[in-house]
Symmetry: C2
Subunit: 294 residues, 2 copies
């Protein structure tokens, strides 16, 4: 299967584009022999300020930064938005060049998954509930591709966003359990002026949907305040659900309060330890997620 | 949970005993900075000449050899022989010292599996059929622990025996699919005078069982000869099954001819490519396996 013709690269004074695992490894090996500290930022492209904040955190903690751009087919179910997921390879190149990333790693799907690819990596426990319940195939796809990317690049650190907080917990567990030699850093969520968490999927929203979407973080913040003030978990969760309905979301996948590290459910009474509030809901046929620390 | 008191180490003029991942990594890091090539030989201990031949192959292909000794609870089902599986830590130390291994890595189970360990690595396809059918939990346990050991030690090469041929194929697939940066070497099966494949489980056999066991390789060899002479796969498999019954095995798990690389079944007619004959059967409540190239 040949790939579609690629547009020529824009003028890049710093960023190098790498499309194969062997080229990536050769470059990393050179850096390593020079004693340099290497960071990886895995993304699915369509980069926005949220991604660029991860790149900046990577630069602040390493000498060389690799940003992978790979829309991973394994983590989309057949009915999901793999085909319409936004792609902007040239735009991504320009942005990464501007923020000073060293390598944009854009593997072809055939480079990642050979025809008889047959291995999967699975994390139970922290993958259960929340997005793991709504998208049962999702974390298996994420953990398998992240394992591959980490073992292809063998970075010293890798940066993930708190926007996908459950994913962050799943990856921390994955790295610990499989002894992957990498340190995971978490970057805070970047937000629009009204507090909407930045996401490539925000591009799907109509003007109306965009207004509704801006209410999710308001509901999360209100829930976190109520919990901090001692209100009961069950009552706060019910109120949060109601807030999302009132804001105009079409469907709510969850509004839940969980342990901040193990992601275990916390009963219905007042909190006794660090917690986090999570929401996922649909507007304009688009699924949005966000979370807030208590 | 504290471990039982360990016997003191025997006199070792070369071998170093390592019990934690952090000590192992520090040592490997030193070797790597000195430009040395590192080999890992994963074992479950109770070492015999078969294991030592893997160590010798590792020494011939690397500067430093780590032998891990870990009876992996994940790859035993509840009813299997985890508790009675033979253990001889002091004997293993002496043997490894004699053949010139550099490190014997003996992690505690708590070092390998933390209380809320929740990640698993699974290889489909080549794990199906043969031992994967008879012991469905088995390869999941093997692939998870081998991934961990490879990522703890990060060796340049790892050596596995052809005795566990399906395991070898599964591990080659695992390493390819997850991009684990290691080269897998295969060592030929070591055999007793009557051709019985060496195995730690041979220690379970009575005198009578030991005699019966010696007939498995005879049946495999006869099948390989018949296939090479053009006999049909179906007929040869039936004859092999009959040979094992006649030899006195109590139960036969399989006697099968498969593609030598993909392990796919080969129909019933004459061979058209490289194949391998596989058998698994029980005697003295002990499950024995062996295989033979056509």
């Amino acid at each position: 299967m040949s790939s579609p013709a690629r547009p020529s690269n824009p003028d890049l004074d710093h960023l190098i584009i790498v499309r194969t695992r062997s080229t990536l490894r050769a470059r990393v090996e050179n850096w390593r022999q020079a004693g340099l500290r290497i960071a990886l930022v895995p993304t699915m492209g369509a980069l926005h300020e949220g991604h660029l904040s991860l790149v900046k955190m990577a630069k602040a903690n390493a000498d060389k930064v690799i940003v992978s751009v790979f829309v991973n087919p394994l983590q989309f179910a057949p009915a999901e938005d793999l085909e319409r997921y936004p792609r902007d390879e040239q735009g991504d190149m320009i942005k990464l060049n501007t923020v000073g990333a060293d390598v944009m790693y854009v593997p072809d799907p055939e480079e990642m998954y050979t025809p008889n690819f047959s291995t999967s990596v699975r994390v139970d426990d922290v993958s259960e509930g929340l997005c793991g319940a709504a998208r049962p195939h999702f974390f298996g796809g994420v953990t398998t591709v992240v394992t591959k990317l980490l073992l292809q690049a063998l970075p010293d650190i890798a940066v993930f966003g708190e926007k996908d907080y459950q994913q962050l917990c799943v990856i921390r567990r994955l790295v610990r359990d499989l002894d992957i030699p990498v340190e995971i850093l978490a970057a805070p969520t970047m937000r629009e002026h009204d507090g909407l968490a930045m996401s490539s999927r925000n591009a799907y929203l109509t003007d109306h949907g965009r207004q509704v979407a801006g209410q999710m973080n308001v509901a999360l913040k209100a829930a976190a305040s109520a919990l901090a003030a001692g209100e009961a978990v069950g009552r706060v969760a019910d109120q949060g659900w109601q807030d999302l309905m009132d804001a105009g979301f079409d469907t709510i996948d969850y509004f839940e309060i969980r342990d901040a590290e193990t992601l275990e459910p916390l009963g219905t009474g007042p909190l006794s330890g660090p917690a986090r509030v999570f929401a996922a809901a649909w507007i304009d046929k688009t699924r949005l997620i966000d979370n807030w620390a208590v």
